[in-house]
Amino acid sequence: MAEPVGPRGATLRVVLRVLGRLAARLGGAVFVLWAVASVTFFAVRLIPGDPAQAVLGGPGSQASPEALAAVSSEYGFDQPVIVQYLTQLGRLSTGDLGRSYALNMDVGPLVLSQLGSTVLLAVLALTLAWLLALALATWSTRGGTIAFRVGSSLEIVAAALPHFWLATSLIVVFSIWLGVLPPISTSGVAGLVLPVLTLAVPLAGFLGQIMRESLQVALESPFVLSARARGESERGVRWVHALRHASLPAISLSGWAFGSLISGAVVVETIFARPGLGRTLLNAVTLRDVPVVIGVVMIVAVTYILMTLLTDAASRLVDPRLRLL
């Protein structure tokens, strides 16, 4: 094939490159999913005891030998491991995550029904964390040394706050003492405040530190001096130049942040009695409801991958340099 030439050829090349990158990304995502599925499949094989018994609710279930046999053949536990593995992959590829031992329903719909609530929580928390971090970073870099010290101390302490302690303290203060916010998060906006705060504050501590550092670096960099020399105002310097630079490392942290929010959701959803993946997961872990655990892990892996793609896209949006590659 002839090398494409001219502007049209260039466009074609760009399109091909973008498609290629997309394909590589998708390939990577599929690989990660396959690996996650395989890891969990073989990990679950490590569980001691008869998996059929686990399906029937553990040793206390009074399951008859007939029931055990029936379950074994239904789930294919009597097949060789490799056959089970391939069957499982086949099922997963069609979106079939199996059936919960404990909840008496298919894992796929169950997990999907919980996803929205957790994602809402995570997105709100991430947004709030961003705003808090941004506010703290801009405030502490504008004020003097005292503001700087207060800002950085606040961030370090915030980042060290365990979710369970923060959630409990918030409930005590805002629900029990002041009685202004509901201690459970079932419906309505008011119920979201405390869970979102619980997740956002520690995250804001992390994001704030990174933002303040990069904001400081940006504010001291020569291009900001150039901008000032052009007569740019302090606000202009911050909004046109510095904050954009400051947000870059924080954006690339957002993939991690999402993961930490999911971890936090396990605690927060339990304490605030909020429906969601985290609570589902914890319940499943305490009941050792393996299909649900795998289902949640898979769905989190998928969302995590999506989140990294999204983070990449956001970075490209803010940093035009990445678009050149």
């Binding site: 150039s226 020399a229 052009r230 007569g231 340099r321 590659l325």
Partner: protein, 545 residues
């Protein structure tokens, strides 16, 4: 319009409670005039320049008897008032436009900023003006350029864009702070030409530089700054031709360009030198015809990010004779550093080979080579990075002597002291870490380390490029001394033709991986054969004759 673009009387800048950084500096610049303030790092020249923009820093205390821009006093201006004048009455160009232009914004936006802030032009008018400016600073194809990010431009293009941004509103005064420091000589010449043009158009220019030779090209007047004071001010030819002050003399002496090999550049480099001796001609040293290091048809290529291969070094051959210095000169990207790494056998050539004393070097295995390693030393541009950060000077040198530093015997300490003495450092440097030393001291430790193994050959890769001119002079003198004392053979790699010409017996000029011209230093310098060499030579900043 006043006849004086800038008036400064008794400017003082103090940071906190410390000693003033600028003590009572006074000068004027007329429209169309270019005044250069020259001084070493830390002399206060940049602070002076920034206080003229009200940007000396948050905790800086600036006072002056008079400080007038275009006849209007800027003393005691509020920040808001300053903002109204910055960019409009005075423009600033910084060094290294890669970091002086916001890397996230297209240059068109950066250039348009001043217009947005200081004019009432509409968006379309601003775009037209930006295109005009881009054209005016000599960038081709303005429509294409406006959308580019600074990262997509070459160093020279960026600097032009930065200048365009500074002159957008036709400020009567342009302050250029080391505008060409990071640039290759040819590009540097172009940028200086551009500044000259701007001055010709009637703009007053305040040029800040550490390099006398650079400014001498376009400055009408030169002011030499030292320790926060202007020690000497006058017409360029007068100041450089017959410097009156010691600081000025020292700076003039430190310029290597056009100084014959062996000329001492530093006035106080060694205690042995009598004070006040200038340009002491060192004794010529014996040169032999034995080839100690030879490159034969070296080639090396690298993979580009898109997968294609780029030839970094292309069929390079040369020979280094015992006791002589081979200078390799070239602009950035010409393959100099790759050549150095090939010579040190840190990279294997794809074609050709390197021989040391006629024995296979690059073709031999590392095991065989290790026996010869002691005879080939190296000095690096980034001396700091070449030291293990956990080690202090004593440990670095003990290691280089091939001893174990766990049990350091008294005689080892004696050897270390001798070694340090050889490079002009006191024994008190031994317990210190390189991080605590100045740039010049670090390079001295680097040289001491290279000398420790008593090598015959030294490969010096840009050993002085990150140093101030006067420190550079000392290090060059030091290299000259050790070469004589130890009968070393040097490969001296640099982008600075002036330096290379000063230190070398033979010169090889590299361009895009190839040697375009080579020969005896004097010949190449006096009568370049290749047009590229001629171009390089023409661009070398030199003092007015």
């Amino acid at each position: 319009m006043s006849e004086v673009a800038l008036t400064v009387r008794n400017l003082r800048v103090v940071f906190g409670a410390a000693e003033p950084v600028v003590h009572g500096v006074s000068f004027d610049i007329a429209p169309g005039e270019c005044l250069a303030i020259v001084g070493e790092s830390g002399s206060g020249k940049s602070v002076t320049a920034r206080s003229l923009l009200g940007l000396a820093g948050a905790n800086a205390h600036v006072t002056a008897d008079r400080l007038e821009l275009g006849g209007r006093s800027v003393l005691g201006l509020t920040d808001r008032a300053w903002r109204a004048r910055r960019g409009k009455d005075v423009g600033l160009v910084l060094q290294d436009a890669l970091v002086s232009l916001d890397p996230l914004r297209p240059i068109g936006r950066e250039i348009a900023d001043s217009l947005r802030l200081h004019t009432t032009l509409g968006a379309a008018a601003r775009v037209r003006r930006v295109l005009e400016l881009i054209e005016a600073v000599g960038l081709p194809d303005p429509e294409l350029q406006v959308r580019k990010l600074s990262g997509q431009l070459s160093g020279g293009e960026r600097q032009r864009a930065l200048i365009a941004a500074a002159i957008a509103v036709e400020a009567p005064l342009l302050i250029a702070d080391e505008p060409t420091t990071a640039l290759d000589v040819t590009v540097q010449a172009q940028i200086l030409g551009l500044l000259e043009q701007i001055a010709l158009a009637g703009t007053a220019i305040l040029l800040i530089s550490h390099d006398l030779a650079v400014v001498s090209r376009i400055a009408h007047r030169v002011a030499v700054m030292h320790d926060g004071r202007l020690v000497e001010t006058g017409g360029t030819a007068q100041v450089l031709g017959s410097p009156r002050q010691e600081q000025t003399r020292r700076m003039v002496a430190a310029i290597p360009t056009d100084k014959p090999r062996g000329t001492r550049l530093s006035l106080t480099a060694r205690p042995a030198d009598a004070p006040g001796t200038t340009c002491a001609l060192s004794t010529p040293f014996p040169r032999e015809s034995t080839v100690v290091l030879e490159a034969i048809g070296l080639s090396k290529s690298f993979r580009r990010p898109d997968g294609s291969r780029q030839l970094a070094v292309d069929d390079v051959s040369f020979a280094l004779h015992r006791g002589s210095t081979l200078g390799i000169v070239g602009e950035s990207g010409s393959g100099k550093t790759t050549t150095a790494r090939l010579l040190l056998a840190l990279l294997a050539p794809e074609h050709g080979e390197v021989q040391v004393r006629g024995q296979p070097w690059s073709a031999a295995g590392e095991k065989t080579r290790r026996g010869l390693r002691a005879s080939v030393g190296a000095i690096y541009q980034d001396a700091l990075g070449s030291f293990d950060p956990r080690w202090n000077v004593a440990e670095i040198l003990t290691d280089a002597l091939g001893l174990r530093h766990e049990r350091r015997a008294p005689q080892t300490t004696a050897r270390l002291t001798t070694l340090l003495d050889e490079v002009g450092l006191a024994a008190s440097a031994l317990p210190r870490r390189p991080l605590e030393l100045s740039g010049g001291q670090r390079q001295r430790v680097g040289i001491a380390r290279a000398l420790a193994a008593r090598p015959e050959i030294l490969i010096c890769d840009e050993p002085v490029s990150s140093l101030d001119v006067s420190v550079q002079a000392q290090v060059l003198d030091l290299l000259d001394d050790v070469q004589r004392e130890h009968a070393l053979s040097l490969v001296f790699i640099s982008h600075d033709l002036g330096v290379v010409a000063h230190v070398s017996d033979q010169i090889a000029v590299m361009r895009a991986g190839r040697i375009v011209e080579s020969g005896p230093a004097r010949r190449v310098f006096a009568a370049p054969q290749h047009p590229y060499t001629a171009q390089l030579l023409a661009a070398v900043p030199r003092l007015p004759a």
